[in-house]
């Protein structure tokens, strides 16, 4: 399968001040799975040198979407690209979330939503979503998520009128712990660490991880994460791992 293609930008729009959704044209025959990622090359110059990895947010024949937070130099450049400009995309790469058999729990922290949205969409009305953000205006795609998921529970760290106040793992402890369903999670390291303390070893819990990447294909050994079996590559052995395998 061809894993490198030039893609035309269909749209690239801000959904909040810091978060953007980019949509690209890709060949019809590309197959992707929730949890996988692509690497986007941002320009034709050598600075920034490396492409940037992003989870596949959504993919419907011929159109692929990525949701990203503007963090540094690379994502800043990405946010300034316009409709019809060309980007080089490599991927899809990595292991995906094992498909759920029935209902499942999703825990998303902030931009971590980017990695699990596609899963929720592929299995409509099956996800019990726990979605944590810092403040109310960072709640993204709320209407769509309510349609796609079975339940949506939101937590914000700042006080708001209609949501749970606190971190998402606390909300999950209160409302989701009694559900014995497989868990799929993506979010910042602090969230994953907390989650590891909460879930019992018998409950399957799949998490998407991040590390700095260069090649994306398992060749450079740059992206390793510590697991019970030693260092594993996030790009090819992951990014999805069972949480019990990880030494967080």
């Amino acid at each position: 399968m061809n894993k490198l293609f030039k893609s035309k930008i269909i749209t690239n729009e801000a959904v909040t001040e810091e978060i953007y959704l980019i949509s690209l044209e890709i060949p019809e025959n590309i197959e992707t799975k929730p949890g996988q990622f692509c690497i986007l090359r941002l320009n034709h110059r050598l600075d920034p040198l490396l492409g940037r990895p992003f989870s596949i947010f959504d993919h419907v024949c011929g159109e692929i979407k990525f949701l990203y937070r503007v963090k540094g130099k690379g994502t800043k450049i990405l946010s300034q690209l316009k409709k019809d400009e060309l980007l080089t995309v490599t991927g899809p790469f990595g292991k995906w979330y094992p498909f759920p058999q029935g209902d499942f729990i999703v825990i998303a922290g902030g931009i971590g939503l980017a990695s699990v949205y596609y899963l929720i969409k592929k299995f409509p009305k099956k996800a019990h979503l726990f979605y944590g953000v810092r403040n109310e205006n960072e709640i993204l795609f709320y209407e769509e998520l309510k349609e796609l998921a079975k339940h949506v529970y939101i937590s914000t760290e700042k006080e708001t009128s209609y949501t749970y106040r606190g971190v998402v793992t606390e909300l999950f402890k209160e409302k989701g712990k009694s559900l014995s369903l497989p868990i799929y999670a993506c979010g910042p390291m602090v969230m994953l660490k907390e989650l590891k303390k909460i879930v019992n070893e018998a409950q399957p819990c799949y998490v998407a991880t991040e590390e700095r990447m260069a090649c994306g294909v398992g060749a450079c050994l740059g992206c390793v994460i510590e697991t019970k079996q030693g260092f594993k590559r996030v790009c090819t052995d992951g990014p999805v791992f069972e949480i019990k395998e990880l030494l967080l």
Binding site: L4, L46, L50, E211, R212, A214, A219, V224, I225
Partner: protein, 302 residues
Amino acid sequence: MPSLEVKIGNLTFKNPVLTASGTFGYGLEYSQFVDLNLLGGVVVKGLSLQPKQGNPPPRIYETACGMINSIGLQNIGFEEFKKEKLPFLKKFNTNIIVNFFGENLEEYIEMARLLDSLQEINALEMNVSCPNKDSEWRRMGLEPELLKKAVKEVRAITKKTLIVKLSPQGDVALMAKICEDEGADAVSLINTIPAMVIDIKTRRSMLGTSTGGLSGPAIKPIALRAVWEASQTIKIPVIGIGGIVTAEDALQFLIVGARAIQVGTANFINPQATVEIIEGIKQFLIEEKIKDVNEIIGSFIQ
């Protein structure tokens, strides 16, 4: 069609473009992007006797036009390479070069002996230039006496084409001369340059270790100088490495005397960089009406 063929030791390369160790895995990883049959050679990840787990993450950080890595020579070890990786590699019509290192001289010799026994391997690249200097033998790339002894002993063990991969630090021409005198068939330069990156908030390194090795376009001018100095001093071939991204970069190395080149970090930027470089060299020769790539090699005008 111009000829792209070059010779190093007793080996013929269909073109002067090879992959650099540690940036192309064991070949398989990039075979989804590149037909390995098109390459002059594949240099695999640095191999040691036992598997090595490498340094703690984070292991890479991007710098201006470069990257710094502290992989720490993680590799699967000789036995697993032989069992799991070599059968795949030998299916291709290209030269297979194994980059290797040891914790001490005995291990270098043992590795050379084991690799020498594998028919599928065309050449050995002896890495004496790891930027991590925690033992006497890791310093051999910087200390003439240690290098002399090591090359001599490894040479005695193997008849295969022996390439010694040198560091850009120190007196490059002197070290290259030692390799030649002790019977190496070629030297390759350069390896990454020891470097640092600091997070001002935590006041710690951006890497899991304090220092790492710098590679990519940022180091190309340093590499060109090193290749030029070495190729003026020795008669055995020099293989140029460092920041080569395009055919133009590669041609610059050939002009200052490199017989072949290796593409490293550029694979990460563009997984098809190697084949584009081969194609670009070919086009250049056609445009300049040059029949043989060897006419370019060492054609630098002072």
